[in-house]
């Protein structure tokens, strides 16, 4: 509900309040080396009055803007304030490295703390507030959403954030990082492809032969209920046995641990959304449409080409989208059975009680999932015929 007297726009207001609260929370953790106990520092300790002042200024400006309605100019101002909060916070991390780390601690490293994360969150809430229901085209909104990442990339590439523990962990493992990233993409990509190759025909078959519908979905639903860790574990024994029994397979690299069980388990997990959507894509085509098509003289192939495929493809693609995002997350767990991937860093970090290493593994996994989700989202939009675009999503 709108408040008549003040016309407070709540989203931006929430972001601004969050940013102001964040000013008083611990900002960074300074550790003399990787394993030593660290020391928390607030923004005040960074002793950079210009940047801290700017940050506080942007936060307060956001707060004021939240009461000024939603005209185009106010929106642009909110956006600028949000980006200002973001930029100041990131630069303060760099500044903290410069001012808090003295020459007598060559291995010192910084980790962002809750104050910093609150500022990140506040940024996105404020930017969201500025774009909400805005009459801008989609492309503009998407572009604006990317701006913080561009700023972050520039600051990182300039080497300003090298004192951050996450980046230090990264620099220590730069070669392996690329290798595991490739591994991760290979495992998720191949398993989703395999799931498409199996799941789409399976879903269509379940639709054509209604007798198969139940068994197919009991099976793929059943797989989904097994916890991922258990499924990976379950693969070990039978595959080890098969690999022992058939040396040819062993030479192909099929063993109880490693890529083979990971790929199988990941494929099985990816099946449900793909199979279900393939089935649904056919089930939602109205009977009347098929009847009209056949009655006007479409053969099976005409019907498929002109009617069924155009209507089904967007739904099948959105099943693939769900599976792909899931697979990227599940692949992280595959590292436990020696398959590699970015999960390797996460489990290594867990083993060494090094949270920075965990974060270093998690950030690219999340980024990957988001990128794949967005790319497939664009693909689905393109593949959706205009007549049904407004109807769905």
């Amino acid at each position: 509900m709108k408040s008549i007297q003040l016309r407070i726009e709540r989203v931006t207001m929430a972001g601004a309040v969050l940013a102001i609260v964040a000013l008083f929370l611990p900002f960074v953790l300074l550790k003399p080396n990787r394993v030593a106990e660290g020391e928390l520092h607030a923004l005040i300790d960074v002793q950079d009055p210009v940047l801290v002042g700017a940050l506080a200024g942007f936060a307060v400006v956001s707060l004021v803007l939240a009461t000024l309605g939603e005209s185009g100019r106010v929106r642009v101002a909110k956006l600028a304030a949000g980006l200002g909060v973001f930029t100041a916070a990131v630069l303060l991390l760099a500044s903290a490295g410069e001012r808090l780390i003295t020459p007598d601690m060559p291995f010192a490293r910084l980790s962002p703390q809750i104050g910093f994360w609150f500022l990140m969150l506040a940024t996105f809430v404020i930017i969201d507030g500025s774009l909400r229901n805005a009459p801008f085209p989609r492309v503009t909104k998407a572009g604006v959403g990317l701006l913080p990442f561009v700023i972050l990339a520039v600051v990182t590439a300039a080497g300003l954030l090298d004192d951050l523990a996450v980046l230090q962990e990264f620099y220590n493992r730069e070669d392996r990082f690329l290798q595991e990233l490739g591994n991760h993409l290979f495992l998720s990509g191949l398993s989703v492809s395999a799931a498409v190759a199996i799941g789409v025909p399976l879903g269509l078959l379940a639709w054509r032969r209604s007798r198969l519908e139940k068994p197919v979905f009991v099976a793929v639903n059943g797989i989904q209920t097994i916890p991922s860790l258990a499924l990976f574990g379950l693969m070990i024994a039978p595959l080890a046995f098969i690999s022992q029994a058939f040396p040819v397979l062993r030479q192909l690299g099929i063993r109880g641990i490693g890529n083979a069980p990971a790929l199988i388990a990941l494929t099985l997990y990816a099946l449900l959304p793909i199979t279900r959507n393939a089935y649904t894509s056919m089930a939602v085509i109205p009977n009347a449409v098929v009847d009209a098509g056949r009655g006007m003289g479409m053969g099976t192939r005409d019907l498929l080409r002109l009617v069924e495929l155009p209507l089904a493809v967007p739904i099948i693609l959105s099943g693939i989208r769900t599976s792909a995002v899931q697979a990227i997350g599940n692949t992280a767990v595959a590292a436990l059975i020696g398959a590699g991937g970015l999960g390797a860093f996460v489990f290594q970090g867990l083993g060494q009680a090094a949270p920075d290493l965990i974060v270093m593994g998690v950030i690219p996994i999340v980024a990957l999932a988001i990128i794949v989700d967005r790319l497939l989202g664009v693909l689905i939009r393109v593949a959706t015929p205009r007549g049904i675009r407004n109807v769905e999503s």
């Binding site: 009347a288 449409v289 009209a292 098509g293 006007m296 003289g297």
Partner: protein, 371 residues
């Protein structure tokens, strides 16, 4: 001509058709009607081989439909169903152009044809051509369904309860348009419905079915006047006399009307321009300069010399009139509703072209049942 010869159909253990034989005359509207499950839709779908008979033959121009490839056969037969089945991902003009597309027409020719057909079913091609099905009302969608079926100009149209899902008001409009369209196109139409009023309005011939068998074949008027048995009598109902009026078109039973220009009201006298004094309705339809109906004047007002404008009862043309293609049932309803001796018949330009008189309707009803 389409011909059914001893056609049977069983679905599992159910007899859907128990050996029916009938003919569908070329260029006429044949309506299959009966309660649910009587086999009317099954019969219709056998003509374009959507269903194959268990036994017997369906012939088209003397050749068994089974001898044609189903796709080829269907492209030459228009097909309209109750739920329309427009392709949701195609624009209106692509929907209309689908059979031409299957026949290999080039795009410009298809679009040209689509525009023609939109015009024919009373929709503006510029406004509707690029719309999508979800942007259409039920009535618009059904018009486009009809346009789509007409796209390749097939001689035969199959229509399975095409107006069944449209609200009653729009249904009547669509039925009237269908009648007008059919006068122009003279297609061989097989039309399935369970709505007797619709059958009476549209049919040249009605085939009444029940439990997979034909109960009676005949013109609507015939079936209402002389039901073959108790079942038909019940089916047509107690108000068959009234229903029968729907078999007659206004244009076939209207009489010459007396017109009077508004400006002449003050000078007109009885018989001045009328043969209407005694056996007619005794009503003058008063029109304005653009010949639009504005009121009615009772000739009684003229008996004491010229009348004045005060004697003219103002009417709203739309409320009192019927069209040439309306049926007599509607005319009677207007007569009773307005409490007048006659209703004016207006053409498209809202000019009076005749009138329908109450005694004529009464006479018609009596002769019908004696015959």
């Amino acid at each position: 001509m389409i011909e059914f010869k001893g056609v049977r159909k069983t679905f599992g253990s159910v007899d859907a058709l128990r050996g029916v034989s009938f003919e569908v005359p070329t260029g006429q509207v044949t309506v299959l009607i009966g309660p649910s499950g009587c086999g009317k839709t099954t019969s219709l779908r056998m003509i374009n081989r959507m269903i194959e008979p268990t036994d017997g033959d369906v012939l088209m121009d003397g050749k068994k439909v089974g001898s044609f490839a189903p796709e080829e056969l269907r492209r030459g037969i228009g097909y309209v169903i109750q739920s329309v089945g427009l392709f949701p991902h195609m624009s209106v003009r692509d929907n209309i152009g689908i059979v031409p597309r299957l026949l290999g027409w080039e795009k410009p020719r298809r679009y040209e044809r689509a525009a023609e057909l939109l015009e024919l079913v009373g929709l503006d091609p510029a406004a509707y051509g690029e719309k999508y099905p979800h942007e259409l009302s039920g009535g618009e969608a059904q018009r486009i369904g009809v346009a789509r079926a007409l796209a390749a100009d097939p001689p035969v149209m199959l229509m399975d309860e095409p107006f069944g899902a449209v609200d009653p008001l729009n249904r009547e409009v669509l039925q009237k348009e269908f009648v007008a369209l059919q006068r122009k196109l003279r297609k061989t139409v097989v039309f399935v419905t369970h709505d007797l009023d619709e059958a009476i309005r549209l049919a040249d011939e009605i085939i009444l079915m029940r439990d997979g068998e034909i109960v009676q074949i005949g013109s609507p008027e015939r079936i209402l006047a002389a039901p073959a048995d108790e079942f038909v009598r019940n089916f047509v109902g107690n108000d068959r006399a009234l229903k029968r009026l729907a078999c007659f078109r206004v244009e076939d039973h209207m009489q010459r009307a007396d017109l009077l220009a508004e400006s002449d009201v003050g000078t007109a006298t009885i018989g001045a321009e009328s043969d209407n004094g005694h056996d007619g309705s005794g009503l003058y339809w008063v029109h304005d300069d653009s010949r639009h109906l504005v009121g009615v004047l009772d000739s009684a007002a003229l008996s004491n010399g010229p009348a004045s404008l005060d004697d003219v009862t103002t009417v709203r043309a739309r409320d009192v009139s019927v069209g040439p293609l309306s049926d007599l049932r509607e005319a009677l309803s207007r007569l009773l509703g307005q409490g007048m001796r006659a209703v004016p018949v207006l053409d498209k330009e809202e000019r009076v072209v005749g009138e329908v008189r109450l005694p004529d309707i009464e006479a018609l009803n009596q002769t019908g049942f004696v015959r």
